[in-house]
Amino acid sequence: MAVSLQKGGNVSLSKEAPGLTDVSVGLGWDVRTTDGKDFDLDASALIVGENGKVLSDGHFVFYNNKQDPSGAVVHQGDNLTGEGEGDDEVVKVALNTVPTEAKKIVFVVTIHEADARGQSFGMVSNAFIRIVNDAGNKEIARFDLSEDYSTETAMIFAELYRHNNEWKFKAVGQGYAGGLGAVARDYGVNV
């Protein structure tokens, strides 16, 4: 049973899913059936230290940098159109191998060239982002982007963060102006 996410609410992953070691953040949407530019949604992750900035530029995991130096966070591949069933982009996290200096992992979803293409989540059919416990393939939480974030072009989806030696999950669901570049810059990536 997935947790219904309220903005800013905390869910302890270890309580929701005891012994959690591997999670996948999945992003899915439907291929555009009307004429016009494709909808290209991107899932990305930022591995952030105590100061709230990425540990290094290499700790910004996105379509051009498919994994962090430790290999704990791996982007499974860029999907440009939404073609395929279920999750169209997946970022996998092996929590046990995340470097100790990492305090949290921030997950974002953005629309590529949203401004130039004049697109927002509401124009995309069945766009969602979710987090799944790989053991048992159990969905922990899900956001409906098409429906509940219709006017946004970028969103901070969620954070996984360390708290008292366990990883906690915090749903954020905060729209973000400026796209992926702005998100990365704000977390200290040299874009």
Partner: protein, 397 residues
């Protein structure tokens, strides 16, 4: 509340009106509103799921199109069980063929009223290459009705739009090569030999001009067929532009009976016809100004339909500069218990003074109605085009 493309909102009221408008209001584009009633599959469950000028009311009565006002009345709580979405679309008639697209407009606006606060979706059209647009959709989600502003569409026009919603379009005039053969009337598709279910076939519906709507009635008697013409007198008449005498628009018809009798019914030449005797078509009062509230009426005796071969309904500008857009003419053809056919002549740049509006043909006892909208310089040219074979001379009424 203003909506942007993609935005959705919960409806506070289930009985609403959705009106389409555009900027500039006067345009050469011929714009046809339509609605698709969709099941959870995202497809129409049958031909009753398509509401347009040829079928302006859904079978359940929950969605009604007022063609003249470009307005839909929706009672979402009255929709047939299983209908989860109502899509409002706007298409440019023969847009591809005429090289027209929504980018020829600057804005298309959908205004939804009936709830506490009007919902307005102003869609910027400039630069759009689409010929058919999904303007917005009413949809059920978690047992609530919502509305989403869409503003996406198809460069190929009505064909791909209809296909998108599960309607198979045959003989799409946008795509078809010109043919010397007349399009064949709806033919039942050959039974599929495969196990897969055949696509929903709605080709009996008038998707485009010249595709007939059949007003089927078993008895062969149709009662009184009422053809109405209404229009707006030219703006500014008698005022600043005092040379403008306004527009006098007339309705008329060519009648051809099975006996071979051919006749013209119109005010010009004082050939008002007769209802109970041949030619079984009668023009009522001549409205010289367009200011009579009901406009001009032509009655056709449907009880004598077996006598008819065909009737060509037309409108012509008797006096005034041919400016169809300013005349804003609406022609309604109504037979008892039959769907109303509404044709609007507001959006044409034609400088020809005559317009063939619709053809009523006796098709094995049924009335087959085809929307025409072809412009001619006058009676003689239209006659030549449709082959009635009258001889013509100038006249005054």
């Amino acid at each position: 509340m203003n909506l942007q493309p993609g935005q959705n909102t919960v409806l506070s009221e289930l009985s609403v009106r959705a009106e389409l408008s555009w900027i500039p209001a006067t345009t050469a584009l011929e714009l046809d509103p339509s609605a698709f009633l969709l099941a959870a599959t995202g497809k129409v469950p049958g031909d009753e799921g398509f509401v347009f000028y040829g079928q302006p009311k859904s079978a359940d009565g929950a969605v009604v199109l007022n063609v003249a006002r470009r307005e839909f009345s929706l009672e979402l709580d009255r929709l047939s069980a299983g209908i989860e979405k109502v899509v409002i679309a706007l298409t440019i008639e023969q847009g591809q063929k005429r090289g027209q697209r929504f980018g020829d407009l600057s804005e298309v606006t959908l205004t939804i009223t009936g709830a506490d606060e009007p919902l307005v979706f102003p869609l910027v059209a400039s630069g759009m290459s689409e010929v058919a647009l999904i303007i917005g959709e009413f949809y059920k989600r978690n047992s609530q009705w919502k509305f989403r502003a869409v503003g996406q569409g198809f460069n190929g026009g009505l064909g791909p739009l209809a296909t998108h919603y599960g309607i198979e379009v045959k003989d799409d005039p946008e795509q078809a090569e010109p043919s010397t053969n007349p399009p064949s009337p709806a033919v039942e598709p050959a039974p599929s030999t495969t196990a897969s279910s055949p696509p929903v076939n709605l080709n009996k519906i008038t998707l485009e001009k010249r595709k007939p709507v059949s007003l089927t009635k078993e008895s062969g008697k149709y009662g009184q067929i009422i053809v109405n013409l209404n229009w707006t007198r030219g703006k500014g008449s008698g005022g600043f532009f005092s040379r403008n005498k306004g527009i006098d628009l007339d309705i008329g018809c060519f009648v051809e009976l099975r006996s071979g009798i051919k006749d013209v019914v119109q005010a010009l030449g004082n050939t008002f016809g007769a209802y109970d005797s041949k030619p079984y078509a009668h023009l009522l009062a001549d409205d010289r100004t367009g200011e009579a509230s009901q406009g001009e009426f032509l009655h056709i005796n449907g009880d004598q339909w077996s006598e008819f071969r065909r009737v060509l309904v037309y409108a012509f500008i008797y006096e005034g500069v041919p400016n169809w857009a300013a005349a804003d003419a609406v022609i309604t053809i109504k037979a008892p218990d039959q769907p109303e056919l509404v044709v609007r002549l507001d959006s044409h740049s034609s400088s020809e003074g005559m317009c063939a509006v619709a053809m009523l043909e006796n098709d094995g006892g049924k009335i087959k109605v085809s929307k025409l909208i072809d412009y001619y310089r006058g009676h003689r040219f239209m006659d030549e085009a449709y082959g009635w074979g009258f001889s013509w001379r100038a006249g005054r009424k």
